[in-house]
C-alpha cells in the first residue's frame, strides 16, 4: 500500500486517477515536479489562469463585505470587467451565516479523508446551492461536466457533512457558473439515488487506489490525453504539448483558478 494514512482525496486527484492512474502515481504519490508545458498556447493559458484567479478573489472580496463599487474600481482588464458585471447581475446578497466562500470541507471516507473546496455555498430555506465559478472561454457539454468527479465529489461531501444531516440530498443543487456565459449556467439537482451512486463510485475508486502497488498504476490507453499532460516525456508519449483547440472538451482545473492561500 503506497498511500499514507493522511492522504486527502479531492475531485482533482480522483479525476487524475480516472484520466490516468500513472499520472496520479507521479503527482500524488511521488509528488514529482515535471516542469514541461501542459498545454499550448502557453502564454494565453497563463493569461486566462491569472484572470480566473483574479475573478475568484474578487468574488471572495465581495462576500467578505467590500462594496461592489470599490471592487469595480479596481478592475481594468476589459474581459474581467465584463465577467464582473455579469457576476453582479446575479444579485447575490446572502445573509450573514448563510453562506461560505472558498471553504475547504472534508469528511472521513473509505479510511481516508475526502475534501471539497467550494467557491460559494449558499443556504436558504433549507436548501443548499453550491456555486463553482468556471472561467474557461468555452463551455463544455452538460454531460461532460456531469461526468466529472467534481460533480460527484462536491455535492456528496456537502450532503454528507454532519452539519447538513437534516438536509435531504434533494435540497442540494450544484451550479457551474461561467462569467463569460452568464445566461447558460449548468446546474443540476442532487438526489438520494445520486448520492448513493456517487458514494459507491467514489468508494470503489478509493479502495482501488489504496490497494494498488506501484506497478498497478498504469498509463492510460487514451493517448490523446497525453497531449495535455506535463508528464508525456517521462512516459515517452510525445514531445510538444497539445493546443487547447485540439481538446475534445475544455474543463478548467478547479485548482488552477483559486488564489492559493494555503501556499502563504
Amino acid at each position: 500500500m503506497l498511500l499514507p494514512d493522511s492522504f486527502v482525496f479531492t475531485q482533482q486527484n480522483l479525476q487524475d486517477y480516472k484520466d490516468c492512474a500513472y499520472r496520479f502515481y507521479l503527482k500524488e504519490i511521488l509528488k514529482l515536479d515535471w516542469p514541461a508545458v501542459e498545454s499550448e498556447p502557453i502564454r494565453e493559458q497563463e493569461v486566462l489562469m491569472l484572470l480566473g484567479t483574479r475573478f475568484h478573489l474578487l468574488c471572495q472580496q465581495y462576500f467578505s463585505g467590500i462594496p461592489a463599487d470599490v471592487l469595480s474600481a479596481q478592475i481594468t482588464q476589459p474581459e474581467l470587467i465584463e465577467w464582473w458585471q455579469n457576476f453582479l447581475k446575479l444579485d447575490l446578497h446572502p445573509a450573514p451565516g448563510n453562506f461560505s466562500v472558498e471553504k475547504l470541507n472534508s469528511i472521513p471516507f473509505a479510511g481516508y479523508r475526502l475534501a471539497a473546496k467550494i467557491d460559494l455555498l449558499l443556504k436558504s430555506d433549507g436548501k443548499l446551492t453550491l456555486y463553482d465559478w468556471k472561467t474557461s472561454q468555452h463551455q463544455p457539454k452538460r454531460q461532460t461536466l456531469l461526468s466529472r468527479m467534481q460533480s460527484k465529489v462536491y455535492p456528496y461531501v456537502i450532503s454528507a457533512l454532519s452539519a447538513n444531516q437534516n438536509i435531504l440530498p434533494e435540497s442540494v443543487e450544484m451550479v457551474y457558473w461561467y462569467p463569460a456565459f452568464p445566461k447558460s449556467p449548468v446546474s443540476f439537482a442532487y438526489s438520494s439515488a445520486q448520492k448513493e451512486a456517487d458514494q459507491t463510485e467514489i468508494e470503489l475508486l478509493i479502495n482501488e487506489i489504496a490497494s494498488k502497488e506501484k506497478e498497478a498504476f498504469r498509463k492510460t490507453d487514451n493517448l490523446k490525453a497525453c497531449n495535455f499532460c506535463r508528464f508525456r516525456s517521462l512516459c515517452d508519449r510525445g514531445k510538444e504539448a497539445g493546443t487547447s483547440d485540439m481538446a475534445d472538451e475544455q474543463v478548467d482545473s478547479d485548482d488552477a483558478f483559486n488564489f492559493d492561500f494555503d501556499a502563504i
Binding site: 514529482l32 508545458v37 479523508r113 516525456s233
Partner: protein, 706 residues
C-alpha cells in the same frame, strides 16, 4: 477522533471548560503540544465548529502535530481548523482587504492590485536601488558580499516591523548602541537610507515585502472595522503554540484579539527563543501569563532520561560558570560519550559506521537518529551523503537546497538559453558549453563533450555549428549517436529561438519537455534534474509576473536581467518552505542544530559533529544590523559592549544545548575534531564546557570518555 494517551496534566488541559483562556508553560518534551492537540479535539467534540479554531504557530513546520490529526480519517467532518503564522494571516488579509486599506497605508496606486514580493524579488528591487549607491562609495568600509548586504538592509526593515518601531529609527538605534569606531555611524545611516528608499519604492509601486505586509496589517488592517470583524467572527477559538518563537508585534496583535476569543490556549516553551535573530521574543510572550485567566505549568519531561537531565544541568552550569562546584551524578556517562578524531573524514566515517550499527544491529528506526552541526555546508552535506549512500543508509537534510547558480542542471539549461538567444549578448564560454553537453546528452563523456565544444562551438559568435559537415574521423570519435543527439539539440534551439520576446520560463519549460527530458538526454526520467529545473521555472515565472506589471518592461530585457541575477546569486530560489516542512520518515536526519530545534521532533540518538566549533557559540557577523539591539528588550541609548556580546552568546548556546538535550531520549554522541572542515584547530565554548564535565567525572568517579 484520534485517541491520544494522555498524562493527568494533559488531560487537565484537554478537559478545561470550553470558555477558558489558558497560558501553558513548560520545558520542551513535557507534552504541551500533545495536550493542545487533544484540546483541539475536545473543543470539537463539545460542539465547536472546527473551522472556527485558529491554530497559530511562528513557523509552519511547528504545526505538523496538528496537521497529522486533522488529516486522519477519524477527524470530524466539516471545515478544518486554520493553521497560520501571523505573517501568513497578514498576507491573506492584505490580499482580501487591499481595496480598503491601500490608500490609507500610503500606496500610490491603491486601485491596482498589490504585488507580494518574495525574499528574492525584494532583494532584486533593493539591489537596483543600492547598486548605483555602491558606485558612489556607499558601504565602502564594509567588506561584505553584496547579497548579504541586501539581506541585512531588508533584515533591518523586518526588525522594525516585527519589533514595532519606525524604519526611520533604524540607524539611531544602531548608532546609540555602537561602542566601536565612530565611522560605523555612516554605515548605519547609509543602511537606513537604502531601507527608506526601498520603502518609498514599495509604496510607489504597490510592492509588499514581508516588512511592509506586516506593518500594513498591524497598523491599518487589524485596527480596521471590517477586517477585525471578519477575523473575530471567523475565528472564535485560539491555540497559539510556541509563542516564544514569535515576535512582539505578533504578541501585540494576539493580546488585543484575546478578549474576542471564546477560548484560548497559549503555549510557551521554557528556554525557547531559538529564532531570536529573526525577532523571536520569549520575554514578550510571557505577557500572556497575565492576560490569560489560567496559568498551568508542565514540569516533567516525557522525553529525556534522568541521565540526560543530569547532563543538561551539568552542561548549563559549566557553560554559565566555567566550573562545576558540586558532584556530577555518576550516571551521566550513560547520557553521552566523546569521540575524538584528528580529521573531518575520520569523524564522518565513524558516524556512518555507528549509525549503520544502530539501525542494523540495534533495530533503531533511522528517523530516531539525527546528526547535528552548527552549520551544514555543501561540502559537508556531500561528504555525509556519499558515505551514507555507500553504506546503504537513507539520509535527509534540513537546509535550503542549493542556490540556483550552484545547481549544475540549472547552469546547463541557462547555457542553452544563451546559445539560443545571441541577442541577449551573453555568449557562453567553452567551459559552460562543455559542461552543458556533458550533463545533457546521454552517452556523452567528458572527452566527447570536449571534442564537440572544440569543433562545433564557435566561441566568437556564441553559436553551435552543425555536426554533418565535419570530418568523418571526428564524427566517429564523437560517435554518430552522440552526434545525432547533439544535432537534434542544435536544431531545436535554432527553431525555438525565433521569438526572442518569449518569456524565459516558457522557453525553459518547452526545452525541458520537448528535448531534455526526452529519450537520448540525461534529464529523461531524472527526477532530481526535473526538480532543479522546476525551481528555475518557478523562480523565473515569479520574477516575470512581479516585473511585467510595469508596462515599460520588455520581455527580452527581463530575460537577460533574470539570468544576470541568477548568476550573481541575487536570485537563488532558496525558499524556506522547500525544506522546513519535509518529513524524514525512514531516513537519518542531518541538520544544522537551529533547523532541527525549529522542527521540534525528539529523537533517541543525537550525533553532535565538531563540538569544538566556534559556530555553536558565535553569531553571524552582521555589520549592518543587530538582532539584540533592534529588539524590544534593548534599552535605547545603551551601549552594546563585549560583555553584552558574551552574555548573549552564552545565553544562546545554553538555550541551544538545553533544546537539543530535551529533544533526546537516549544518548548523545559528541565528536571532537583536531582539525575542522576548513583545516583550522578550534576550541569553542562547547568543548570547554564538556571538558569541565569530563574533568569533574574523572575526579569523582574515574569514568573515562574516549
Amino acid at each position: 477522533m484520534t485517541d491520544l494517551k494522555l498524562t493527568k496534566n494533559q488531560q487537565q488541559i484537554a478537559e478545561l471548560p470550553v470558555q477558558s483562556r489558558v497560558f501553558l508553560h513548560g520545558p520542551a518534551g513535557s507534552g504541551k503540544t500533545t495536550a493542545a492537540v487533544q484540546r483541539m479535539q475536545t473543543l470539537i467534540e463539545a460542539g465547536v465548529p472546527s473551522d472556527t479554531i485558529l491554530i497559530l504557530v511562528p513557523q509552519r513546520s511547528l504545526a505538523e502535530p496538528y496537521k497529522n490529526v486533522i488529516r486522519t480519517p477519524q477527524f470530524t467532518s466539516g471545515g478544518e481548523p486554520s493553521i497560520l503564522t501571523i505573517g501568513g494571516l497578514a498576507q491573506r488579509m492584505l490580499a482580501l482587504f487591499w481595496p480598503l486599506v491601500a490608500k490609507e497605508a500610503g500606496f500610490a496606486a491603491p486601485q491596482t492590485p498589490p504585488r507580494f514580493l518574495t525574499l528574492e524579488t525584494a532583494q532584486y528591487y533593493l539591489a537596483n536601488l543600492v547598486e548605483p549607491l555602491l558606485q558612489l562609495g556607499y558601504f565602502e568600509s564594509v567588506t561584505i558580499d553584496p547579497n548579504r548586504l541586501y539581506s541585512q538592509i531588508l533584515d533591518n526593515l523586518n526588525k522594525s516591523a516585527v519589533v514595532g518601531f519606525s524604519p526611520e529609527e533604524i540607524s539611531t538605534r544602531l548608532i546609540q548602541a555602537w561602542a566601536g569606531k565612530p565611522s560605523q555611524a555612516i554605515i548605519y545611516d547609509q543602511a537606513q537610507e537604502c531601507a527608506l528608499r526601498f520603502r518609498r519604492l514599495c509604496l510607489q509601486q504597490n510592492l509588499l515585502d514581508f516588512s511592509l505586509q506586516l506593518a500594513v496589517f498591524a497598523n491599518y488592517l487589524w485596527p480596521s472595522l471590517l477586517c477585525r470583524q471578519y477575523l473575530t467572527s471567523t475565528y472564535r477559538h485560539l491555540i497559539y503554540d510556541n509563542a516564544e518563537e514569535d515576535y512582539p508585534v505578533a504578541h501585540d496583535i494576539i493580546e488585543s484579539w484575546l478578549p474576542d476569543f471564546e477560548s484560548a490556549l497559549i503555549i510557551k516553551d521554557e528556554q525557547g527563543g531559538f529564532r531570536s535573530f529573526m525577532g523571536a521574543d520569549p520575554v514578550s510572550a510571557s505577557r500572556f501569563a497575565i492576560s490569560c485567566e489560567n496559568f498551568i505549568e508542565f514540569t516533567e519531561s516525557m522525553v529525556k532520561s534522568p541521565e540526560l537531565e543530569h547532563l543538561e544541568t551539568a552542561l548549563t552550569t559549566s557553560l554559565t560558570y566555567h566550573k562545576i562546584e558540586g558532584d556530577v551524578p555518576t550516571d551521566i556517562h550513560n547520557a553521552f560519550s566523546i569521540h575524538p578524531f584528528r580529521f573531518y573524514p575520520q569523524g564522518l566515517d565513524w558516524i556512518t559506521t555507528q549509525v549503520k550499527d544502530l539501525i542494523e544491529n540495534q533495530s533503531v528506526p533511522p528517523e530516531e537518529i539525527v546528526v547535528l552541526t552548527p552549520f551544514l555546508s555543501d561540502s559537508l552535506r556531500y561528504s555525509i551523503n556519499t558515505r551514507f549512500a555507500d553504506a546503504g543508509l537513507n539520509l535527509s537534510t534540513f537546509r535550503p537546497s542549493r542556490g540556483l547558480r550552484d545547481e549544475p542542471a540549472i547552469k546547463a539549461v541557462l547555457t542553452l538559453v544563451k546559445l539560443a538567444f545571441p541577442t541577449l549578448n551573453m555568449k557562453p564560454v567553452k567551459d559552460e558549453v562543455r559542461n552543458a553537453i556533458l550533463l545533457l546528452i546521454e552517452g556523452c563523456d567528458y572527452i566527447r563533450a570536449d571534442l564537440i565544444t572544440q569543433v562545433l562551438f564557435a566561441a566568437s559568435t556564441g553559436s553551435l555549428r552543425t555536426f554533418d559537415p565535419i570530418k568523418k574521423e571526428m564524427q566517429q570519435r564523437i560517435t554518430y549517436l552522440v552526434g545525432e543527439r547533439f544535432e537534434r539539440l542544435r536544431i531545436w534551439l535554432e527553431e525555438n529561438s525565433k521569438d526572442d520576446a518569449l518569456e524565459l520560463d516558457f522557453f525553459i519549460s518547452r526545452l525541458f519537455g520537448e528535448l531534455l527530458s526526452q529519450p537520448g538526454y540525461k534529464f529523461h526520467q531524472n527526477f532530481d534534474s526535473a526538480a532543479a529545473v522546476s525551481r528555475l521555472v518557478e523562480s523565473a515565472r515569479k520574477f516575470r509576473q512581479v516585473m511585467t506589471v510595469e508596462a515599460s518592461v520588455k520581455t527580452h530585457d527581463l530575460n537577460k536581467e533574470y539570468i544576470r541575477l541568477v548568476e550573481t546569486g541575487i536570485l537563488s530560489a532558496q525558499y524556506l518552505a522547500d525544506w522546513t516542512t519535509k518529513t524524514w520518515s525512514g531516513a537519518v536526519l542531518v541538520s544544522p542544530a537551529f533547523s532541527y530545534l525549529m522542527n521540534n521532533r525528539p529523537v533517541r540518538f543525537q550525533f553532535w559533529l565538531d563540538i569544538g566549533s566556534q559556530g555553536w557559540w558565535t553569531r553571524l557577523d552582521q555589520p549592518l544590523t543587530h538582532p539584540y539591539v533592534l529588539n524590544r528588550n534593548w534599552q535605547n541609548e545603551k551601549l552594546w559592549t563585549d560583555m553584552h556580546e558574551n552574555a548573549a552568546n552564552q545565553q544562546s548556546i545554553i538555550r541551544i544545548m538545553d533544546g537539543l538535550i530535551r529533544r533526546c531520549s537516549e544518548h548523545i554522541y559528541m565528536c571532537t575534531l583536531g582539525v575542522n572542515e576548513q583545516g583550522n584547530e578550534e576550541r569553542g565554548a562547547l568543548i570547554k564546557a564538556v571538558q569541565t564535565i569530563l574533568r569533574k567525572l574523572q575526579g569523582t568517579t574515574g569514568v573515562k570518555h574516549v
